[in-house]
Amino acid sequence: MFTNFNPAEEADRLISWIQNSCYKTLKREGGVIGVSGGIDSATVLYLAVKALGADRIIATLLPDRDSSPDSAVFAEEMAKRLGVKTITIDITRALDGFGCYEARDNAVKQAVPDFDPACDKFKIVLPQNLLGEASLNIFSVVIIRPDGKEIRRRLSPVQINEIVAASNLKQRSRMTVLYHEAERRNYAVIGTSNKNEHDLGFFVKYGDGGVDMQPIRHLFKTQIYAIARHLGVPDDVVNRPPTTDTYPADATQEEFFYRLPFDMLDGIWSAWENGSTAEKIAAGFNLNIEQVNNVISDIRDKERTTEYLRLAPMVP
């Protein structure tokens, strides 16, 4: 798929880049990384340790009541293996104070009146048939009852806005804590967003997008997997399905946003960026041209409609 991509060379380049960015450009003495136990933060953690040394890195775990306990286990194990200090701050009480859960659960109740946050779980999903039909992006809530029964309801614009705004408090609270931990040590906040998240708008402005440097922002998810394997990130982290870890029920990033497995999404996207025709891409992936065009349209729509997230503050 990425014939000219050499994970070892790219890792070496990024290690030098992190060193230069931290010490020379930002003039900070180390780095703070929010680690989730996922592949992106793991890769950045491994790169940063090689760049700055384990004693100049703080791995910060910022769970809330909806976080999977597995995330903390994976993150702790990795930090221990690397000899990196960890700090865990549960942000649940802060979020409660902001009214995050109440606002979010009330919006879900508007869509499903008998939703009971005390025992039901929920997740937000997009249609999953991107290859089958040219379906448009429209969000639904899926309620999961204690007996496993699922109820799916389409969300109204008001409900979506409420849920997204409330959920974004999580990422913005994490950003605030990361900067607190960084500033008290004269460290930089090192971000973990990748190209898929950045270019398609799957990040929170001034939340996980609010950092001092983004070492893997130019890399497709599949390239990050290759670098992670090269760096020796543990298999159980590499093999975990990427999740949103934002809503009470587990939702994969494919369900919530991307609508395709990463190898196919990245392959089609990179071929399109490099000027391949839909015909050629279709032949390479054993798809028909319409399916390829659906994927490209989805990428273009997401890029176009999330442009404001990537803009710096407007000035006259």
Binding site: A134, S135, F139, L155, R300, T306
Partner: protein, 86 residues
Amino acid sequence: MSSSLTKEKIREELLGYFDATFPLFDSEAPDETPLAEHGVDSLGTTNIVVHLEQQYQVEIEDSEITRANLGSLKSLVGFLDKKLNG
């Protein structure tokens, strides 16, 4: 409520709705222009679906929320015409 609407009338009403709802909507653009180019994102698509269901008393299944049905003003007019007039 609106079962006697002609295709022309549907287009006129939808143009009015788009003009009033989406600040970036360009009413001079060809009807085939993808709605995403008018600034319609996933939230906008949801807004359109809610509007059609409430204004025209039609039921829209998730499986109908496709580019072919809702991807442009032209496709939307055809889709609603089919829903209302068969």
